[in-house]
């Protein structure tokens, strides 16, 4: 059993991996609480809907060897998810769906007299494009009058990044990947144009928490400096707070629920002010693709039908047109990677609507998310999480080799390394797309040609079949290593 690198915050239990199994240890106290949570009608309902992850308490005899060493009072087994993903990899629409799912679950739990301990976006995962809440220990009994302790975390990890992208048209991905805790209200308020402060949603959900937070910090400093002797965070301050805590004014449950509903409405109505990009209409109006489209479609369909991969990876998935074909032909589930946020959003919404097992992610294959956080292990690197049986990389290699100056042999090596079988498309220099890339720059790629391309594949895998794409000089290769 290996403890998950990100599972250290909650002292009442941790998540462990044991081979392919996902196990959660519970302290004696957490075990008693968990039994009550499990029996709650709202929890049962959320689980039945698939909004909350299932879990089964294991009998002692079912414990894997070595489990006793960790000293748990009980072990819960959860279904393993095909691929763990992080909010900084989710396109806007996926983060929005995750935020709404979090609020809906919370509202449902409140109805049943339960609540959530925190509001971490990392507690949401996707099966296909369906969000599911995975932290079983976050669910606990609601105490009348209590405050929403996860409010600030919810804003940082859900609302603020969404607001940034919606209002400014700037992706939150880089900021989020840089600070795993998300974006503070204070920073966001400074980034948003002042005129947006007049929007009621921005005022209530961003500016107000930001200003109040600043006010609280300032007044705490003043109080500390005025001879009260209790520096913020000191034992004296803690004691004073604990003493005062007994007399706090309770928050009515209806007001608690209204806060959640208000955020829900704000998030639901966000619209992204996004400039048109070169790729968002790529699949729609690309004439040369139309010529060879049938060949490509047949190639992908045959490949997916032949291999029936459990998990397929679509590198450069765009709006997921080929993904859908692969799913129809027999792929179990697909993870798509792309950097065009408009296309990713379209892909995500289409997958949600048609209920296919497809999750498009924002990821640059030349710069995948690293292993990071506490001890560099809190959030693992993207490649270690992508356990694909097959990969398709259509119209990708020229972006890497020519667009990014990456050595062609390494590009092929990297793609073939992603899965034991796959399709890689060669796009020649004569191609209009490559010509656009080379426009205004020196051609420093004398060795970029079909012969080199083929030889790089052959050095690493076996070419199962290949096909020329009519109307172009492109070639599709299917490999097996």
């Amino acid at each position: 059993m290996i403890r998950d690198g990100g599972s250290y915050r909650d002292p009442s239990g941790s998540v462990y991996r044991h081979g392919d199994r996902i196990l959660r240890s519970l302290s004696a106290e957490a075990h008693a609480a968990y039994l009550k949570v499990e029996a709650n009608p709202a929890v049962i309902q959320s689980r039945a809907r698939g909004d909350l992850i299932d879990g089964r308490i294991l009998k002692r005899g079912e414990w894997p060897t070595g489990a006793e060493e960790f000293g748990p009072a009980a072990l819960v087994e959860h279904p393993a998810l095909p691929c763990i993903t992080y909010p900084y990899e989710w396109p806007f629409e996926a983060l929005r769906a995750a935020a709404l799912a979090h609020l809906d679950l919370h509202l449902n739990l409140l109805d049943g007299g339960m609540t959530l301990t925190d509001a971490s976006a990392y507690n949401i995962q996707f099966t296909g494009s369906n969000p599911v809440f995975i932290d079983a220990l976050s669910v606990r009994a609601f105490t009348e009058g209590e405050y929403w302790l996860g409010h600030d975390q919810f804003l940082r990890q859900f609302l603020n990044p969404l607001m940034l992208e919606a209002v400014c048209g700037v992706s939150y991905a880089a900021l989020y990947r840089g600070d795993l805790e998300g974006l503070t209200s204070h920073d966001l308020a400074r980034l948003l144009p002042i005129k947006s402060w007049f929007r009621p949603s921005v005022l209530a959900a961003v500016v107000l928490p930001a200003r109040l937070g600043q006010r609280a910090v300032e007044t705490t400093r003043v109080t500390a400096g005025n001879g009260s002797g209790a520096a913020p965070g000191s034992a004296e301050a803690d004691t004073a707070a604990t003493t005062a805590g007994r007399a706090r004014r309770p928050l009515p449950k209806a007001a608690y629920g209204n806060m959640l509903k208000h955020l829900r409405r704000v998030i639901e109505r966000l619209q992204v002010a996004r400039p048109t990009t070169g790729w968002s209409n790529y699949a729609l109006d690309n004439s040369y693709v139309a010529d060879g489209r049938q060949t490509k479609e047949a190639f992908v369909r045959d490949f997916a039908g032949m291999l029936r991969p459990r998990q397929l990876l679509d590198v450069g998935c765009n709006d997921g047109a080929y993904t859908r074909l692969a799913l129809e032909a027999g792929a179990g589930s697909v993870i798509g990677l792309d950097t065009d946020r408009a296309s990713l959003d379209r892909a995500f919404l289409a997958a949600r609507q048609s209920k296919v097992n497809f999750l498009p992610l924002y990821a640059d294959i030349a710069n995948p998310s690293p292993s990071q956080g506490w001890r560099g292990q809190e959030r693992s690197d993207l490649k270690s999480r992508l356990k694909a049986d097959a990969v398709i990389a259509l119209a990708v290699t020229h972006h890497m080799a020519i667009g990014r100056n990456l050595p062609l042999d390494e590009v092929i090596d990297d793609l073939i390394g992603l899965a034991p079988a796959g399709i890689i498309e060669f796009v020649p220099k004569s191609d209009p797309m490559v010509q656009i890339m080379l426009r205004g720059r020196e051609d420093i790629f004398p060795r970029y040609d079909l012969a080199q391309f083929r030889s790089h594949i052959v050095q690493r895998a076996q070419i199962v079949r290949e096909a020329s794409v009519p109307g172009s000089e492109r070639v599709l290769f299917q490999y097996q290593r």
Partner: protein, 87 residues
Amino acid sequence: MRVNQYLSGTASVSVVTFFMVTGALAPAHAYLDPGSGTMLLQAIIAAVGGGAAIVFTKFARIKSYFQKDSAKPDAERDQSNRDPGKH
């Protein structure tokens, strides 16, 4: 800003409320830093009996009613424009 003026007048109340709130965390889930701004915001909501959340909600709806919004694919919003009497 009005809220700020209100707060500076009642700064001591705010500080007390802040400590009251942050100090009231049950030990079992004290591993999460609740954040000062949101706790103060909730203290204000609690002080006015949940009215603030309702005010924000209503204000947002009134605003969206008066807003001439060209980008409006949202069916729900169309409906709220057609039938303002419901709010």
